[in-house]
């Protein structure tokens, strides 16, 4: 193949650190959000499917779930979105100090959410092996709990990277992806909270 007038497309000038849908990792995070989100959708669908078999929900002498602690944990999770948003903005400006400050605040809040989640489980007022209602409620809340714990450790490790100075420029987009993941977790918990804790009272 003659190479005399070999036309070339020179890409040496392209950036190596990009944010949002231009970056591969953004799509990877979106992929896992879709998987986990659809698993939660199916878990809630199973919860509502099991509801058809019962006359009253929760069945028998099981009391309604408490509202105090779960409401606090919803607020905490919603509030966590703000520091993560600021960390995202700081990451886009490659501002290391800003990222460290807001990321640590976000990590602390999501840690608090993890602790509160244990009390959310107790607030269900039912053991998982009492009947189908207990099993389904525990399944939904525990599955979301795994996501919060995952998110907490992800933010913790990211924060550790930036604090110890080992973080590189390519980790800034990871911060904005972590922020996106946090928005997803907080909003899904708001929806699950309404279904699991208010559902028995309202629906």
């Amino acid at each position: 193949m003659s190479t005399r007038e070999q036309r070339v497309v020179d890409v040496s000038g392209l950036p190596t650190v990009v944010f949002g849908p231009r970056a591969l990792l953004w799509w990877g995070t979106l992929g896992f959000i879709v998987i986990e989100g659809f698993t939660l959708v199916l878990a809630v669908a199973s919860y509502l499917y099991l509801r058809q078999n019962e006359f009253n929900w929760p069945p028998g002498r099981t009391p309604n779930p408490d509202l105090l602690i779960p409401t606090i944990s919803v607020v905490v999770l919603l509030v966590t979105m703000y520091p993560m948003y600021r960390a995202d903005r700081a990451a886009k400006e490659f501002d290391r100090a800003g990222v460290i400050r807001w990321l640590l605040i976000g990590t602390a809040l999501s840690g608090a959410a993890c602790v509160l989640r244990w009390f959310d489980l107790l607030a269900l007022n039912v053991r998982w092996d009492t009947h189908a209602y207990g099993s389904a409620a525990w399944m939904v809340v525990v599955m979301h709990a795994t996501l919060i714990v995952l998110d907490f450790f992800e933010c913790l490790v990211l924060a550790a990277m930036f604090v110890t100075g080992r973080a590189q420029k390519k980790h800034y987009p990871d911060v904005s992806d972590a922020a996106g993941y946090q928005y997803y977790i907080s909003l899904t918990w708001l929806a699950l909270y309404l279904i699991i804790y208010w559902g028995p009272r309202v629906l």
Partner: protein, 642 residues
């Protein structure tokens, strides 16, 4: 590819840079190199070989079943062994061979066909393979310890529940599903991101090869189908059997039908996960052997997408006899019939291409023709059982066994063998023997028909599925014996295929870059391809790059030879957007996979494993992402300290 002229035009790699690139991308040798490999070709080759070993094991189990059923009142297997073996046959073929091999072949071919150097997330790819391997080994070690699952490959509750599913057998099945589901999901995410973001410049959406389209649609199916079985098997059935939850306990509000809904919501898309890549192979092979462009490229792509969507809407046709309301069942009959239309479109386009082209009858095309014949028969019996009244007679009988094997062996294994014969030269650099290939095809084709066509009549004569024996006066003896003979022919054909592979690895004809005159990018590089696939990433200017390539077509330059760089392009028109530096090979995915293994294997015996396991996983996961300190001169901009 670049000429050996002294003066190399601006930007092209001179021999010194080429040698540097060779060193940068070359995977490390030895066992350690094997454990830390992240090159998509070495992982995918392993994946294919492992899946094929499970195919052989599944085949042996199938032959044991046929031997037991060869004559009435046979005492080769007692009921306990028979239940374990038919469950292992179904589970192995569907979970350990079906889905994995389609994703494995895709992981090998997709980067080559879209013109990039590696899959999007190479370490995640390694994790996927190791998790799959651990799951498969775990299932087979349990089977040899007499703890193989024995409630059928879809393990209907309450037979698989805590009271009637004694011992740890069904737990083994439930956790094995988790392993294979993690592996499939990781592969699906990688394929989607590779196809959307790493295509060669110029490969806009309407220039993506059909095989890549079929694998993209399959990956979206995996994304939305696997969670359903993961939820049903791990989060519900395993918990029912471990900590006494009541998801499926009818006395405490649970519902056995919930299991069937969740399982088949995954089950039917799963068979399309195995079928769509098979149509991709066929649509990739026919133009090459008909020596003509495919008729109705857009029609084929749209029918792939349509099949993908509709496949989520027909799972209830597995549950027509459970007493669901009549109106609901009619909707699913409609959906089940509707899905026959896109399949019809594909068949018509294939036949039209063969008619308008000049077909050359090599082994790949023989397998494709065999596929079309078997698939039309399987598709028609599928339309038959889509009707509720007839399904009430045919459900859970050997009519269904015949249909599913016509559609699985005919429409999935035949195109897979066509793909083996077609892409084997690219994987190994050697041609498979055509003479043995033709024998392999005809034995397989005759074997399948002799084995499974009589089973249609057995089904209508009342022979139900999963029976370990039957009475002589049922009159099923002769047809079952005939079916066993057919199974022997299939076994001979598979042994012949193995001989062909072994012989050609040792002394096959060297294949060169493009033995068949293909039109997709993978035939543009050496076979087996170098670790970096393309020295210069090609620029694509048509749907059939190699057939329509003008001399001196442009290539991409300007990527550093000393770094593992991959070009990231836009989703719609594949314009270069950025350069992404791939992580180096690493052992951490293997360690994380082992930690996952510990979590779910001990999760059978104690719920605490679901706390200790993730704790074990924390360190390797951190080490997986922890950045290495780089020397200033080695660093690129992305690796500058934050």
């Amino acid at each position: 590819m670049s000429s050996t002229e002294a003066r190399v035009p601006a930007g092209l790699l001179n021999p010194a840079e080429r040698e540097l690139m060779e060193r940068t991308w070359r995977p490390r040798g030895g066992v350690w190199g094997w454990l830390i490999a992240t090159d998509h070709k070495s992982i995918a080759k392993r994946y294919i070989i492992t899946a094929f070993v499970f195919f052989l094991l599944g085949g042996i189990e199938a032959f044991l079943i046929r031997l037991q059923l060869a004559r009435p009142e046979n005492h080769l297997l007692d009921p306990d062994q028979y239940n374990q073996i038919f469950t292992m046959h179904g589970t192995t073929m569907m979970f350990l061979f079906g889905v994995p091999i389609q994703l494995a072949v895709a992981l090998y071919l997709v980067p080559l066909m879209v013109g990039t150097r590696n899959v999007a997330f190479p370490r995640l790819n390694a994790l996927g393979y190791w998790t799959y391997l651990i799951g498969g080994l775990f299932l087979y070690v349990s089977f040899f310890l007499n703890t193989g699952p024995d409630a059928g490959w879809f393990a209907y509750v309450p037979l698989s529940g805590p009271q009637f599913g004694a011992g740890k057998r069904v737990d083994v099945w439930a956790q094995m599903v988790t392993f294979t589901e993690i592996a499939a999901l990781t592969a699906a995410v990688e394929i989607i991101v590779t196809v959307l973001k790493q295509r060669a410049p110029g490969m806009s959406l309407n220039r993506i090869p059909i095989y890549v389209w079929s694998v993209l649609v399959t990956s979206f199916l995996v994304l939305f189908a696997m969670p359903s079985v993961a939820l049903a098997s791990t989060a519900m059935l395993a918990m029912d059997r471990l900590v006494g939850t009541h998801f499926f306990n009818p006395a405490e509000g649970g519902d056995p039908l919930l299991w069937q809904h969740l399982f088949w919501f995954f089950g039917h898309p799963e068979v399309y996960i195995m079928f769509l890549p098979a149509t991709g192979y066929v649509s990739g092979i026919i133009p090459v052997f008909a020596r003509r462009k495919m008729v109705g490229h857009t029609a084929l792509v749209l029918s792939l997408v349509a099949t993908g969507f509709v496949s989520f809407g027909l799972w209830v046709h597995h549950m027509f006899t459970t007493g669901l309301p009549q109106l609901g069942q009619s909707f699913f009959t409609g959906a089940s019939l509707m899905i026959a239309i896109p399949s019809g479109v594909q068949i018509f386009c294939w036949i039209a291409t063969l008619w308008a082209g000049r077909p050359k009858f090599d082994t790949p095309l023989l397998f494709v023709i065999g596929f079309i014949v078997l698939f039309v028969c399987g598709g028609i019996t599928g339309v038959m059982i889509a009707s509720v009244p007839f399904d009430q007679q045919a459900h859970d009988t050997y009519f269904i066994v015949a249909h599913l094997h016509y559609v699985q062996v005919g429409a999935f294994v035949f195109p897979l063998f066509a793909a083996f014969y077609y892409w084997f030269p690219k994987l190994t650099g050697r041609m498979l023997s055509e003479r043995m290939g033709k024998w392999n095809f005809w034995l397989f084709f005759v074997g399948v028909n002799v084995t499974f066509f009589p089973q249609h009549f057995l089904g209508l004569m009342g022979m139900t599925r999963r029976v370990y024996t039957y009475l002589p006066e049922t009159g099923w003896g002769p047809l079952n014996l005939l079916s066993t003979v057919g199974a022997g022919i299939i076994a001979a054909s598979v042994v012949l295929f193995l001989a062909n592979v072994v012989r050609s690895l040792a002394a096959g004809l060297p294949a060169g870059n493009d033995p068949w005159g293909g039109h997709t990018l993978e035939w543009d590089t050496a076979s087996p391809p170098p670790p970096y696939n393309f020295a210069h990433i090609p620029v694509v200017d048509g749907l059939y790059p190699l057939w329509e390539r003008a001399p001196g077509a442009p290539v991409v330059t300007g990527m550093a030879a000393g770094k593992r760089q991959v070009l990231v392009t836009s989703v719609m028109d594949a314009e270069p957007e950025s350069i992404y530096e791939h992580p180096a090979p690493s052992v951490w995915p293997l360690i994380v996979a082992l930690a996952i293994g510990v979590t779910f294997i001990f999760g059978i015996f104690t719920p605490w494993a679901f706390l200790i396991g993730p704790a074990l996983m924390f360190t390797p996961l951190v080490m997986w992402f922890w950045p290495k300190r780089k020397e200033p001169h080695e660093r690129s901009f992305a690796e500058e300290p934050a």
